[in-house]
């Protein structure tokens, strides 16, 4: 057993070597309070303890330590037989914001097969925005497990590289899992609107409302002017959340041609939709908006009335 200079650390080391797993477990809990950098070594030792309860305890406190120092141990813990340990390790890994962690993560990715582990490593790679993650992420876009595909999409989304757009579009359009499609269409916002225009045509009619809402949101964020007709169609969607996003996005594009569709939305039974609509009319601030805005001054919903007053002030300023 290694000897430590610091008496507190030495005491903890001795307790961690106890035959009683219960005592080892409590020692792990106390490890958190130790400011010595070498405490990490003892934590790594605990992550490899024979007793799963001790490993769980260690895994639960990994995020209290600077995880960069224990990237290897955490990656190894992703393969632990205990689910609590694997989960905690995956979470701690995603907090690694040290660029130097990219290399060990990529090496581990190559050797990992378990979808949970693969997804955990991809999630940890995402915020590092390391270009070397591009190929491994691309290679996993058609992985059998949707959790892996979702994280692969996120890695490419954060990289913001034009070359990855065709693959993201494919995921957004064709993936069987709605969450993967939603994430992928959300990732398209870094593109040039023209590059993704055609793809968005299909996605705004996705069967799942959250995918449609995300696609509409992306059209607004991209300022995709050619997408106006898609938004007008979406403003009559059967799901109010989609109509709400569509009205909002028409406002973002600031297009007078959208005013008649917004006029219809002003009569929407759902006040959240009317609220977004008046906000959009205020953003467009064209004379054609005036009758709708004036009617909304007497809307039963005070949020709609507030926005109508604001929209009216935009009209008089215009």
């Amino acid at each position: 057993m290694k000897q430590y200079q610091d008496p507190e650390l030495q005491e903890l080391a001795e307790r961690l070597a106890s035959d009683d797993a219960g005592l080892r477990r409590v020692a792990v809990l106390d490890l958190v309070d130790c400011p010595e950098p070498e405490a990490v070594e003892l934590l790594i030792q605990a992550l490899n303890d024979a007793d799963p309860l001790v490993r769980q305890e260690a895994a639960k406190v990994v995020d209290e330590f600077e995880s960069a120092q224990m990237a290897d141990a955490l990656i190894a813990a992703l393969n632990d037989s205990d689910e609590v340990v694997r989960n905690a390790a995956a979470h701690a890994l995603s907090d690694l914001k040290d660029p130097a962690a990219a290399a060990p993560l990529l090496a581990a990715l190559q050797e990992s097969r378990d979808p949970f582990v693969v997804a955990g490593i991809l999630r940890a790679l995402k915020p590092l925005r390391d270009a070397d993650a591009r190929e491994p992420a691309r290679a996993r876009l058609d992985h059998a497990d949707p959790r892996v595909r979702r994280e692969a999409v996120a890695v490419l989304g954060w990289l913001k590289e034009d070359a990855n757009l065709p693959m993201l579009i494919e995921r957004a359009r064709d993936d069987v899992d709605p969450e993967v499609r939603r994430a992928a269409v959300g990732a398209l916002v870094y593109a040039d609107a023209a590059a993704v225009a055609e793809a968005l045509n299909g996605i705004v009619t996705d069967e799942h409302w959250q995918v449609r809402a995300e696609a509409i949101n992306s059209i607004g964020k991209l300022d995709h002017q050619q997408g106006l007709d898609l938004l007008i169609t979406a403003s009559r969607d059967t799901t109010w959340q989609v109509r709400e996003k569509a009205a909002d996005a028409i406002g973002k594009l600031r297009r007078v041609e959208g005013v008649p569709a917004l006029g219809e939305c002003c009569r929407d039974p759902m006040s959240n939709v009317r609220k977004a609509t008046i906000g959009a009319l205020g953003a467009i601030a064209d004379e054609q908006c005036r009758p709708y805005i004036e009617t909304a001054l007497d809307d039963p919903d005070p949020d709609v009335r507030k926005l109508a007053r604001w929209a009216q002030s935009r009209l008089s300023a215009a």
Binding site: D20, G22, L23, R25, V26, L29, L53, E57, K60
Partner: protein, 77 residues
């Protein structure tokens, strides 16, 4: 002014079978913002000594053995 005893039903329950306070664990006692959990000297286990609970949950969330349950105090339930 003489004092009377008065009883209240407390919101935090500790499962003595699961509690490992006797192994030196003091997690729930440490994290309580109101310092209402103490070791029961007869059993060596944690218990709620003062009915002064914010039902904030760190004692339950941080307990290594899931021995602690936080109920909503009766007056609020």
């Amino acid at each position: 002014m003489p004092l009377a005893n008065h009883h209240t039903s407390v919101p935090v329950l500790v499962d003595e079978e699961k509690c490992i306070a006797d192994k030196g664990c003091t997690v729930c006692i440490d994290v309580c913002p109101l310092d209402v959990l103490w070791i029961d000297e007869t059993t060596g286990k944690a218990h709620m000594k003062y009915d002064e609970c914010w039902y904030c949950m760190p004692c339950e969330a941080d307990c290594p053995t899931d021995a602690v349950t936080v109920n909503i105090p009766y007056l609020l339930r």
